[in-house]
């Protein structure tokens, strides 16, 4: 790490003064803001989708109309409040994409990788998260709505949430290629290979568009559970490797230390 990044560390001082010092002098402030934003976003995402809205793990595609109507009534408060939080913090996803795109900007690869990832994942939030949240919010808004329409909202929401593949598949592929051909060692090669696991899960969710029950349905052991476990491991891994990237950053050209 260059001296410019570590020198003049403040003496032990109250927290407020240390924060003020960091705000004024830390050259990596933007990277740290991006990294912490990413941690907060994924934490909120987990709290809302797992605990508040009970969308993860998802209810079944083979549920009866009566059961779907009851599900909307039972989870109404969680759906409306939880997704309102997601709507408020949606933009934090842009910060996550920004730091990942920056990792590719820092690599020895073409800037095309950064731009491709940035746009793919900027749009990914819409079919991968927001359409689901909007449709379930609309369902929860009026539980007295015609049951046929509630079933339509329910199916469209979960199919877009679980079955959206292309953007995550291609986005992960772009990042993986960049990491594996990078000569600046910005991110470790093992993480490049871990990307393969994530992109393969985007392929195995494809049958969720046809299977209404069993392992390949949208709440099945393959289409949901394996996909989600890999996603959680992958997300924890990239949060960790990006933290290492920020710590090692010197803003000098060429290989990372």
């Amino acid at each position: 790490m260059s001296n410019a990044l570590v020198e003049a560390q403040p003496l032990p001082a109250p927290l407020s003064e240390r924060i003020a010092w960091q705000l004024r002098h830390n050259r990596k402030l933007d990277l740290w803001i991006a990294w912490y934003t990413m941690v907060v976003f994924y934490t909120l995402f987990g709290v809302v989708f797992v605990l508040m809205t009970e969308v993860m793990p998802p209810p079944g595609p083979d549920w009866s109309t009566e059961r779907i109507v009851r599900w909307f009534s039972d989870t109404r408060g969680g759906l409306l409040n939880g997704f309102a939080i997601i709507f408020a913090v949606t933009g934090m996803a842009a910060m996550c994409n920004a730091i990942i795109s920056y990792s590719m900007w820092r690599m020895s690869v073409s800037k095309a990788f950064s731009y491709a990832y940035l746009i793919i994942y900027s749009l990914a939030a819409i079919p991968g998260m927001l359409f689901c949240a909007i449709l379930l919010t609309v369902g929860a808004l009026r539980p007295e709505r015609d049951p046929k329409l509630l079933v339509w909202l329910y199916e469209a929401a979960f199919l877009t949430f679980v079955g959206t593949m292309g953007i995550f598949l291609v986005g992960t592929l772009v990042w993986m290629i960049a990491i594996l051909i990078d000569k600046n060692r910005v991110l470790p090669a093992w993480f490049g290979f871990l990307n393969i696991c994530n992109l393969l899960t985007e392929v195995v969710v494809a049958p969720a568009w046809t299977a209404r029950r069993g392992a390949f349905s949208w709440n099945g052991s393959v289409a949901f559970w394996i996909d989600t476990i890999v996603f959680v491991v992958y997300t924890c891994a990239f949060i960790w490797v990006l933290r290492r990237m920020v710590e090692r950053e010197t803003f000098s050209a060429g290989a990372a230390p």
Binding site: D30, A94, S122, I134
Partner: protein, 237 residues
């Protein structure tokens, strides 16, 4: 032609963008006054079945569609200014680009469902009400990217540490105030009544007032900056 000339051409498209926005808001009968989320399905269907409303909805929503996409060159001009700031990384420009992709896409998703509701108003009233709900929830509650782009721009300005910053600090303060004014709208689906409801003072009037104010102020700020930049480049040359 110099590079800055192209930016000025894009900049002078902004009045047309403003006119499109005002015309769309003025003409859409669903905004004057904002449709109540408490309207029964039959009333919602009757709204779209009214020939006068149907025509105005279609015209205004086509204009609104133009506005949604028209915002992108405007936001791109702001990105060129973020690139001129003294940052160590392009993170703020990247984050702003992310919002620039997401925000307009969601706005014209709302636009699409209003148009779908108006296209075949004789359909089942419950279906028309659902399209109308999707449009309103998307239009009102999807302010997250707008909130974030204001915050990102504000932080980018605060971190622009150079003797002559690109934007003055008050522009950052202003963007934070606008972001705060937009946040309540993201909760508009939580209640069908009161200030948070999509026809309420916070979710409709404050949010859209903040958005219009932001467009006007940022147009002036951007214009001033572009012309100042042009004068400096001419002087250097």
């Amino acid at each position: 032609m110099r590079r800055g000339d192209g930016e000025l051409i894009l900049f002078w498209l902004l009045p047309a963008l403003g006119v499109t926005w005002i015309a769309a808001c003025w003409m859409f009968p669903g905004f004057n006054p904002p449709m109540s989320p408490r309207m029964p399905a039959e009333d919602v269907a009757a709204f779209y079945r009214d020939p006068h409303n149907a025509v105005l909805t279609k015209i205004s929503m086509v204009l609104f569609n133009w506005f949604c996409v028209g915002m992108i060159p405007f936001l791109a001009l702001i990105i060129t200014q973020i690139h001129r700031m003294a940052h160590h990384t392009p993170i703020w420009a990247f984050a702003f680009i992310g919002c620039m992709a997401g925000g307009p896409t969601l706005l014209f998703t709302a636009d699409l469902f209003w148009l779908v509701a108006a296209f075949r108003p004789e359909r089942d009233a419950a279906l028309t009400q659902m399209y109308n709900d999707i449009a309103w929830v998307t239009f009102s509650a999807q302010a997250g990217f707008l909130v974030a782009q204001c915050i990102f721009l504000a932080i980018a300005i605060y971190l622009d540490r150079q003797p002559k910053p690109v934007f003055k600090t008050w522009v950052a303060h202003f963007n934070l105030v606008v972001a705060a004014a937009l946040v309540p709208a993201t909760f508009s689906a939580v209640s069908l009544t009161g200030p948070i409801a999509w026809d309420g003072i916070a979710s409709f009037w404050v949010k859209n007032g903040a958005l219009i104010t932001w467009l006007i102020v940022m147009t002036v700020v951007l214009g001033t900056t572009l012309y100042a930049q042009r004068r400096e480049e001419a002087w250097v040359r």
